[in-house]
Symmetry: C3
Subunit: 336 residues, 3 copies
């Protein structure tokens, strides 16, 4: 368990300490906790106004606060520009990602042509196929199945029972949550007159550096070209990305989103849960989609949309409010 | 295969036998079948009025009926207050849950510090981590990956390829369907100015006694606090529960429901399939949600809601009917 | 890597070659690529008008075109009735399905009572239960868990970490994508007055010949009767099929569709992504559902539907357009 004096933590996040009247001006901090649960050796933070009441009565040794928040009486304060970001930085100090140390469990089946950096960890019942390469410091947890000709970068973390099919490419620092499937076949068939003839899906999936894929999410391989998830994209659980989709850098999607084939999503987008996108459309950079949006056509960059079919969010607010007035509209309709 | 005389079955469910003119007043019953498929040594039941026609022509030896249903001529009747419940009780007699007997398959990898009760079954290619405890009579099926510091109660059944990550807690009688993921990381990041900085998710998942989690459903671990699924909750397949959610006892959710972070769901709720709930909201006890509901704010206890955004079900019935009248409303609108 | 002269490829798809002024009248073709990426030894195709611009500048040796498309100047043309189907046929020539050759990885755990045809491939860490039968040429990839009493036909392909539970039946040529779950328990409980009593789910899942199930999709076993997916049905990723559903032959469903218990879907249906169907309803043959449709009652054969609740697609087009006019309708309403 890590710990550090309060002053060190303030330095890590470029914060300024405002001390309360406590006996211990620089307590040793052993971890971070919520405002309501934090104890006298713990740090806490206020990042969401709805927890302001908890701030007043917190038992934490210190709290991370933005400039405009009133300090509680009984604990120290670290003033920072962004308490949530400071919390993230310090939580990463207290809980660093596990380090690989080159353990290969004897039950792992590693093809003799696979090339693993010296310190890659391979846990029990993992399978690694022919000609696959894995970079330094990557951790492969139990039950993962990695195909042939796969390339995985350094510092990746593949959680239990995730699957990476043949020839897919993962950059550095990629994380797969349990049960994620990378490189399943795209859904492509041609009707022969008597059956749906399966079209071999021969493209790859490319996950660029820093991508994280949620539990039981699926990224289909391309039909001919590749499916590409650009750097820093974060996808939550149970998301479905169809063949030949491209998702722009640093876009973020909540769980159960589904994106149909060949759709292009811009950079820095934010999609709410259960949103669905049709195939072959183009969504501009920085687009925000509300949960459950249904997108059937191109969306211009920078907009915020909601509803199915998706419309500008402001219009959707009006429309969804007026839907509740339909009984009144109907009663007072003019009868001609 | 189990079997029992009709009179014994009636006793098990507190039912009263009304005999038809059959030669065999107390036939030996070998199982339960549907009204249309049941044969002369089988029991059947009527729990849904839409199958009343099948009742008249059933070939079953006997049927479970409520008081107000007319008995068919050619079979015995067991009168019960709740035929569906009686069916459940008797089906559990004919098909008891398999019993563990302490088999450990040699391919299972069980950490030497794990503590398993004597009669726990561990099937092929299972992995059990350090300091994990598993209670009496629990069955771990093939391919399950159980992390370190996990606690699993007695009488649990973990189906194939399910995953329980480090430090999660399962009570007694918990069932995981295949591919369920317990303790994936919650979806938490802070924007650093140039990337989404992953926030370590250090809370746990707690599944209380009698919880069942469906196939490929995911329960994220808490960010700091725990994600809690209270006793007797039943979740269907492909459900997503985000970090720090709490679901009240005996709530039931159909497949593909998604619940966002920190939302609190009351006891005894019933959610239809594909419903979605925003984060940080509170849903009262006994709330019913129609399929595909989209909940964006608190819902009072005991209500029934539908639509996206969710509204009272009665209002939704009117609104959704009037949506079909929009062309008429538009044609007859007043032009001012 | 396969290759063939252009004339052979034309013969395979019954096409007629129209030659351009190239030096090489019958080039050796080494593969198929997109119009924009294809090189001088590759074939391409135009199946979607939106790529017509790419046709003019393609570097392909030849293209598959329908009768009405103008040939580009610099490449040969194979005229065919259906370029997409011809592409499928030729892609299957260049990328034939892998052939099984009877390899059993030593880490696979195959019950001694299981009966496998001579040439079945069983990869690492697979588990195959008692009394299970597997037909000729079937390939079982790493980490698959197959229960007891299962029957799998010939020429099947089970991708990594898929699960087939006890007594389920797969016909010939069935494909399971990674993480698919066949035969999870249906979601059936009876309220006992103090808990949801689990009803043992004792039916099977039957996947008929040529069925393909997407990654992380789940097909629940029947409560008493079977869940049946008829021949040639193709289901995309993350689809949920509840107990006792029947899906008619050659129906196709996009990802994240959910179908509730005992619903009957006709033959040749096409469902868009995230569509949801209530339980105990009947959908006729050839029904098309738009993405995100919510079906609450029977649908007549041959219709096209959209919306939630689902309505005829034509009506939905009007209704969804008029929803955007609600602010105008409200402003101009008559006040009585």
């Amino acid at each position: 368990m890590k710990s550090a004096p309060l002053s060190d933590l303030a330095d890590m996040v470029g914060g300024v300490i405002e001390r309360c009247a406590s006996d211990n001006a620089n307590p040793c901090i052993t971890g971070i906790n919520t405002l309501s649960a934090a104890g006298p050796s713990e740090l806490s933070f206020l990042a969401n106004k709805r927890y302001r009441n908890a701030l007043k009565i917190t038992g934490a040794a210190a709290v991370l606060l933005s400039a405009n928040e009133t300090a509680p009486e009984r604990c120290h304060v670290i003033r920072v520009a962004d308490p949530y970001l400071a919390f993230a930085v310090l939580q990463r100090f207290f809980h660093p990602q596990p380090k690989a140390c080159g353990k290969h469990h004897p039950s792992a089946v590693i093809d003799q042509t696979a090339v693993l950096a010296d310190d890659v960890d391979v846990a029990a019942h993992v399978v690694i196929g022919a000609d696959t390469q894995i970079g330094a410091g990557t951790i492969i947890k139990s039950g993962c199945i990695i195909g042939a000709g796969v390339s995985i970068g350094s510092g990746c973390l593949l959680h239990a029972n995730s699957v990476v099919n043949d020839r897919c490419i993962l950059g550095d620092g990629v994380i797969l949550q349990p049960g994620a499937v990378i490189g399943s076949d795209g859904f492509g068939y041609a009707w022969s007159g008597c059956e749906h003839l399966k079209i071999p899906q021969v493209g790859r999936v490319i996950l660029e550096d820093g991508v994280e894929i949620g539990a039981n999410s699926c990224i289909d391989r391309g039909a001919i070209d590749d499916t590409v998830i650009e750097r820093g994209v974060k996808l939550d659980n149970q998301i479905q990305i169809a063949h030949n989709v491209r998702i722009g850098a640093f876009s973020v999607m909540a769980s159960q989103v589904g994106i149909s084939g060949s759709t292009m999503v811009g950079k820095g987008c934010q999609f709410g849960g259960q949103a669905g996108l049709a195939g072959h459309i183009h969504v501009g950079d920085g687009v925000k989609l509300a949960a459950k949006s249904g997108v059937m056509s191109d969306l211009a960059a920078g907009g915020t949309y909601a509803g199915a079919p998706a419309m500008p969010h402001r219009l959707w607010l009006k429309v969804s409010a007026l839907m509740l007035k339909l009984p009144e509209l109907w009663k007072t309709r003019s009868r001609q």
